[in-house]
């Protein structure tokens, strides 16, 4: 069996900034199975409203706990924001294909994150803590109200660069303003997660410079298991499901 359906107890649900929350769940079996880039599919409510489960990348997984870092944007995520300690949630996971682990020869690892797309890179950087490559996070946020401390990333040996649309924190502009920090050297891997236009910009940058990488994509999901074929996106190899074939795809595989 590759995944499980379990009832997870809320350990903590912490408001991080105006819109972001850090939810900690007790889910020992899940915590052991999770790989960076995989997600969990959460039933945010009993009954039929909202109807679908909601997918969230795993932010951290250790000591029997699984964390997600999420933004309250709509009905489902706002309900999730209201969950309290000792509430329980029906969780399915871990789902999807993880990021490919960089080999020993890789010298530079670049995480490019737009907004809440930063989530999967925490667990990834936890696992890569001992990897000798130069590691950096290029983070693009909307404004100060949408930023958060980079301390945990720094602890994992990741250099963090921040850009905000309004310049309230870091450089003013899109995350692409930060691409200049990337040394264009061989043995570089780029990992991107965020809004589709951002990933498109990363993909075209990577193509221009001949760099390889992967992106975690988003699409509305029903099953999360590859069963309904509802979350398909167009790739160079035809339609592929984000939940089962992805969410991680090679940067040059996705058609924007």
């Amino acid at each position: 069996m590759h995944q499980i359906q379990t009832t997870a107890k809320v350990i903590a649900n912490q408001k991080v900034n105006d819109a972001y929350y850090l939810l900690t769940l007790s889910a020992p079996a899940l915590a052991k199975m999770v790989k960076p880039g995989q997600f969990i599919h959460i039933r945010v409510n009993e009954g039929f409203e909202p109807f679908f489960r909601r997918p969230f990348s795993v932010y951290r997984a250790k000591k029997g706990q699984v964390q997600i870092f999420f933004e309250a944007v709509g009905r489902g995520s706002k309900l999730l924001a209201r969950k309290k300690k000792n509430d329980t949630l029906d969780v399915l996971g871990p789902l999807g294909q993880p990021f490919t682990m960089p080999g020993k020869g890789v010298q530079q690892i670049v995480f490019v994150a737009g907004g809440i797309g930063v989530a999967p890179f925490m667990v990834f950087s936890d696992i890569l803590k001992k990897h000798k490559a130069r590691k950096m996070l290029l983070y693009g946020g909307r404004a100060r109200a949408h930023t958060f401390s980079m301390a945990e990333f720094k602890k994992n040996g990741v250099e963090a660069f921040v850009a905000t649309d309004d310049g309230s924190v870091g450089v003013k502009g899109r995350v692409s303003e930060l691409f200049k920090n990337i040394e264009v050297a061989p043995f570089t891997l780029i990992y991107a997660c965020g809004p589709k236009p951002m990933i498109a910009a990363v993909a075209s940058f990577a193509k221009e410079r001949g760099l390889k990488g992967e992106a975690s994509m988003e699409e509305v999901m029903a099953c999360g298991l590859g069963a309904c074929l509802g979350c398909s996106i167009l790739t160079t190899q035809g339609y592929k499901t984000v939940c089962h074939d992805g969410p991680v795809f090679a940067l040059d595989e996705v058609i924007f």
């Binding site: 359906q5 039929f48 679908f52 509305v220 298991l225 509802g230 167009l234």
Partner: protein
């Protein structure tokens, strides 16, 4: 307790199955022991040639349900028989293969290929496909339904199930046409034609513009259709439409369905079919029933 159900010459160990298009790789979630609790497996509809499916977005959430326009994405029947069928057969659970086609000849070709493949419990004809001669679906035209069923019955060595569309004025009339042409059972219902509009963008939420509604939202209509049809036909009905738990499934059985399928709700609770089976058996025990036939069609009028 006897909960086995017969369709044509095929026997299904219990009345709980899954609706086509809603049970894919989720076998990864179950132990083989759990999969073996199903009365039958119905994989996604296959067509003669591979189909790539509709452009995204293919699904959207609606009140107590969803709209889908997947476009029968499938690898084609040859790949299905070579790559997917062996694994399904290995579970030991009877497999009902769902097929669809753009012409009667294509249906016939597929039925022949399935004859050669061997060891299939039944063929389900997904008749929600365009009827090339008229501007309606085959399932919306009694004569076209009858014609396809008759042709496949002549060819197929397996029982033939006609899957009906609810997008008709009188679904029992279509069921009667299928029965008269030799269908061994009818499966009902498929999704209801529907759409959802994003008011902000003034666009359909579905890439294909319209799609099919499923889930608990359609259940009361599906139950009514099964009840009406059961009063008119003698062949078994596989009932579906918004089943989420045993109680929902019992509604269909009491209305006259001989089998029930969990569809959309597999996406919300992959364990639903199992829970439905356990609940049906508990209900029978509670009501001192020893044979599922005491339950089927037991609605008081």
């Amino acid at each position: 307790m006897n909960i086995a159900v017969k369709i044509g010459k095929s026997v299904f160990p219990n009345p709980v199955t899954v609706a086509s298009g809603t049970f894919g790789h989720s076998e990864e979630l179950y132990s083989l022991k759990e999969v073996r609790c199903l009365g039958a497996i119905v994989p996604k509809t296959v067509t003669l040639k591979a189909q790539e499916g509709n452009p995204p977005r293919r699904i959207c959430e609606t009140p107590a349900g969803m709209i889908n326009a997947i476009g029968i994405e499938n690898p084609g029947i040859d790949v299905f028989i070579a790559k997917k069928l062996p694994g399904l057969k290995k579970t030991g659970v009877p497999v009902i293969v769902s097929i669809s086609a753009h012409s009667e000849n294509d249906f016939a070709l597929m039925a022949q290929k399935l004859n050669a493949a061997g060891k299939i419990a039944a063929i389900e004809l997904n008749l929600s496909c365009p009827n090339l001669k008229k501007k309606v679906l085959v399932a919306q035209d009694a004569a076209a339904t009858a014609s396809v069923v008759r042709r496949i019955k002549r060819i197929s060595k397996y029982p033939v199930i006609a899957k009906l569309s609810p997008n008709v004025t009188d679904i029992a009339a279509i069921a009667l046409a299928a029965e008269a042409s030799g269908a061994d059972a009818v499966s009902m219902v498929n999704t209801f034609a529907a759409m959802s509009i994003d008011v902000k963008r003034r666009c359909s939420r579905i890439g294909n513009f319209t799609g099919g509604l499923s889930g608990p939202a359609i259940r009361p209509i599906a139950v009514r259709m099964v009840c009406e049809t059961a009063a008119k036909i003698k062949i078994p009905i596989i009932g579906m439409g918004g089943i989420t738990n045993a109680n929902d499934a019992l509604e269909f059985l009491i209305a006259g369905a001989s089998m029930v399928a969990v569809g959309t709700y597999n996406f919300i609770n992959p364990k639903a079919p199992l829970e439905v089976l356990i609940g049906i058996m508990a209900y029978m025990k509670e009501n001192r029933m020893t044979d599922i036939r005491e339950l089927i069609g037991s609605i008081k009028r």
